[in-house]
């Protein structure tokens, strides 16, 4: 039992680590390409320096993302071999396609970073665009595989328990994937955008006159604002899909123990599984029925409908969901502040100290929301690894002593996190425009 718990903790921790770098790999190349395009159009050297600085950050973070992604593809087998033994062929389509997306990302990142003075400017820009597109497709394929775990289809279970009648195409064309992909992609752009904006806002607080950081801040906010406004809409769509496909997970997310009509929407609160109620929540009567099913009189199924051994952990899932929603609402508020300022004050972003501080403090919230949101998805699927088909317990490796690999993973990833923060801090402190040692020969800018 403990061994399964440690296997779960290991993959949870590995995913939690990887997803930050994966999200940055999706969004950061896009920012880099925007900056380069602006440089090509305006000839403004500062955009060139900004492109270089962002490219350096991208190089570091994408490398960590690629390595930790490799670890995950092995860990699926190392930790849950029985799951992969049956699921592998069924989810073969998104995984094999993901390989090509990953190739595109890696090949064109190499070209983008090191061929500044070897290919023409438009080709260089296109290499960057390919990196951004490849990363987005990687995410689409991987999330499609996850959607299958939540809404398995494209196979039958034979009498001896094996999977037969495998239809990989049907498994891939999964209605559950639509909202997961949309929610994840928007989250990646939003979380990276606000994080980058926060870094440059922090520098602007110290050096308000720095024009290059103003440009960087503006570009990052240009990505953040529409995504922050879009995300609640996508999130609402996602919640309605979960309510339809996984009513049990929906009940756990909302802390809904009893089946009722006019179910209230709860903000905060701690679910108490013994008393079968969620305490200390701020409730809006009827609103959960409305959000989930379109009418206040709709019936929302509570956890009581299912046997206790099929429940996900109600406290973790509910709190994870609350954290994600609160982060999203704060980011929405910051985005609306900026948006209305832009709209009514002569098409300029706010640059008051109050707004810059608000951005700095919101910087980590996007990533926090991603972590919390994936906790909801994954813990909310438990006790199943393949929803209502295979239990996590049955799928784990028979190897004993799983605490050892878990602890190694923990130590290595915590150490790497510290190292990444340190290296990025040093990069940011020297600022854009100065070449890193060891990179001089190849990364010199092309002459214009």
């Amino acid at each position: 039992m403990d061994d399964v718990l440690f296997a779960r903790l290991q993959i949870a921790f590995s995913l939690g680590f990887h997803i930050i770098f994966a999200s940055i790999s999706i969004a950061m190349p896009l920012l880099m390409v925007f900056a380069e395009r602006l440089w090509m159009r305006t000839g403004d050297r500062e955009y060139h320096e900004l492109t270089k600085a962002w490219a350096k950050g991208t190089a570091i973070l994408v490398a960590i993302g690629a390595a930790s992604g490799t670890v995950l593809s092995f860990e699926l087998g190392l930790l849950f071999p029985t799951f992969m033994r049956h699921a592998g062929p069924v989810i073969s389509m998104p995984f094999s396609m993901e390989g090509f997306a990953f190739f595109a990302e890696a090949i064109f990142l190499g070209i983008y970073l090191y061929a500044w003075n070897r290919i023409s400017p438009p080709m260089h820009l296109w290499a960057g665009v390919t990196v951004a597109v490849g990363a987005a497709f990687s995410a689409i394929f991987v999330v499609t595989a996850n959607a299958w775990m939540n809404h398995p289809r494209g196979f039958r279970i034979a009498e001896d328990g094996t999977f037969t009648d495998i239809r990989p195409i049907a498994a891939m064309l999964n209605p559950y994937a639509v909202h997961e992909i949309a929610h994840m992609l928007v989250a990646a752009y939003l979380a990276t955008g606000i994080l980058v904006a926060a870094v440059h806002a922090f520098i602007l607080l110290r050096h308000p006159q720095s024009t290059i950081h103003r440009k960087a801040f503006g570009l990052a906010m240009a990505m953040t604002i529409p995504m922050a406004i879009l995300q609640p809409v996508v999130g609402d769509f996602a919640a309605r899909r979960v309510a339809r496909f996984q009513p049990l997970k929906f009940a756990a997310m909302e802390g809904q123990f009893r089946t009722e009509t006019h179910a209230p929407l709860r903000f905060g609160g701690i679910p108490d599984p013994e008393a079968m109620e969620t305490r200390w929540a701020v409730e809006i009567p009827g609103f959960l029925s409305f959000l989930g099913f379109g009418r206040a009189s709709a019936e929302v199924k509570g956890l009581e409908e299912w046997p206790r051994e099929d429940w996900p952990h109600p406290v973790i899932v509910h709190l994870g969901f609350q954290i994600m929603v609160i982060c999203g609402l704060i980011l929405l508020a910051v985005a609306l502040w900026a948006f209305f300022h832009w709209l009514f004050r002569g098409r300029r972003l706010p640059d008051s100290r109050a707004f810059l501080w608000a951005t700095v403090l919101s910087g980590p919230l996007g990533m926090l929301a991603i972590e919390a949101g994936w906790t909801v998805t994954e813990v909310g699927r438990q006790p199943w690894v393949i929803y209502e088909v295979m239990r996590t317990q049955e799928s784990a490796t028979p190897m004993p002593g799983m605490i050892a690999p878990f602890l190694v993973t923990l130590v290595v990833y915590l150490g790497l996190s510290a190292a990444v923060i340190l290296v990025m801090y040093r990069q940011i402190r020297i600022g854009p425009g100065r070449p890193a040692p060891g990179l001089v020969a190849t990364a010199e800018g092309r002459a214009r």
Partner: protein, 341 residues
């Protein structure tokens, strides 16, 4: 059923490409660790510059191998994941640390001490990865993993912690180091650096030969041994590999670096393909054949279609990458500021 044989061949091809491209990146780490003499710093710079633009793309071949394995041969993937959990986990540790240390060293702005520390982690993790990759390859071929009713019977250390897999691990390390040194002669136009790596390549080639012999003996001596050199096919590849080994040695000796690069890659490819031929018909010898491990045929067909379509985007991209960075030596000789004694 022919389809599983086709996908298995593609897995082998991906493994060959991973060895001749990604393997050389790890071999570079070996020479980073062993950099010595008056040009140690220049050697390290050359290695870093040769690896930097291509290592991430080269690494993806390993992902291709693993994805094709778990989609097309899921039973083999699950058995290998259970029996070789420990060496695979250690290999992953090497992969993560290598990637992280390499970019940190490349981009970190701190002075020399920090750079050296990252450099050492880079070098050591470059050694760990091929070593444990080789150990895993050795263990699946030896017959030390026993399976009954899809259950692994032989434990978590016994199948790989024995002479043959460990020898194959060290052999893999030597092979990758040899490959890297042979390539590096062509990455620079500086004659002194070329000489450095020429002598290293020749030395490594000798190690490769010795370790291959040792592995052959270890295979014979092991009680669990599935004899890898049975039948005609493996011997054909052995002879071919020896011939290519002699040819590389000659090319290096005569300083024909362009030829040495091609021949060294061919030698490594021959060895990996030869291993594949010796494995037939097993996926995990001796209890799991390729046919038993295979997913239903239409899954293989779908994967082949994906691979076929994907190749149209992949091949031109890869060719472009290598055209940009590997057609001509790009690491220039520097003005030497101090006269040598």
């Amino acid at each position: 059923m022919i389809l599983p044989w086709i996908t298995a061949t593609i897995i082998l091809v991906a493994l060959v490409v991973y060895a001749i491209l990604g393997g050389a990146d790890f071999g570079g780490g070996v020479w980073d660790l062993l950099a010595s003499g008056p040009r140690a710093r220049r050697q390290r710079e050359l290695i870093a510059e040769a690896i930097a633009p291509v290592w991430e793309a080269n690494h993806v071949w390993l992902i291709v191998v693993i994805v094709l394995l778990f989609t097309c041969f899921p039973l083999a993937f699950s058995v290998i994941s259970i029996a070789l959990h420990v060496p695979l986990a250690l290999m992953l540790l090497g992969i993560v640390m290598r990637a992280a240390a390499f970019v940190f060293r490349h981009y970190d702005v701190a002075g020399d001490p920090v750079q050296r520390r990252w450099g050492q982690i880079f070098a050591w993790s470059s050694i760990i990865t091929p070593l444990f990759l080789g150990i895993c390859v050795g263990a699946v071929s030896l017959g030390s993993i026993r399976i009954e009713d899809e259950v692994v019977l032989t434990g978590y250390f016994g199948p790989w912690l024995r002479p043959f897999p460990v020898t194959v691990g060290v052999f893999t390390l030597a092979l990758f180091a040899f490959l890297a040194a042979a390539y590096l002669t062509r990455e620079t136009s500086d004659p002194e650096l070329q000489e450095d790596f020429r002598s290293r390549a020749l030395m490594a080639q000798l190690w490769v030969a010795v370790l291959a012999l040792l592995a052959a003996f270890a295979n014979r001596a092991d009680a669990a041994a599935v004899q890898l050199l049975r039948g005609v096919w493996p011997w054909i590849f052995v002879v071919l590999a020896i011939a290519l080994g002699v040819a590389v040695t000659y090319a290096l000796f005569r300083r024909r670096y362009k030829w040495a690069r091609v021949l060294a890659a061919s030698e490594v490819a021959t060895i990996v393909i030869g291993w594949g031929a010796a494995m037939v018909p097993y996926m995990v010898a001796p209890d799991l054949t390729l046919q038993e491990a295979a997913a239903p045929p239409h899954v293989h067909l779908l994967i082949l279609i994906v691979l076929f379509v994907g190749a149209f985007t992949l091949v031109p991209s890869l060719l472009w990458l290598y055209r940009i960075f590997k057609r001509e030596p790009i690491f220039e000789p520097v003005e030497r500021e101090r006269a040598r004694p």
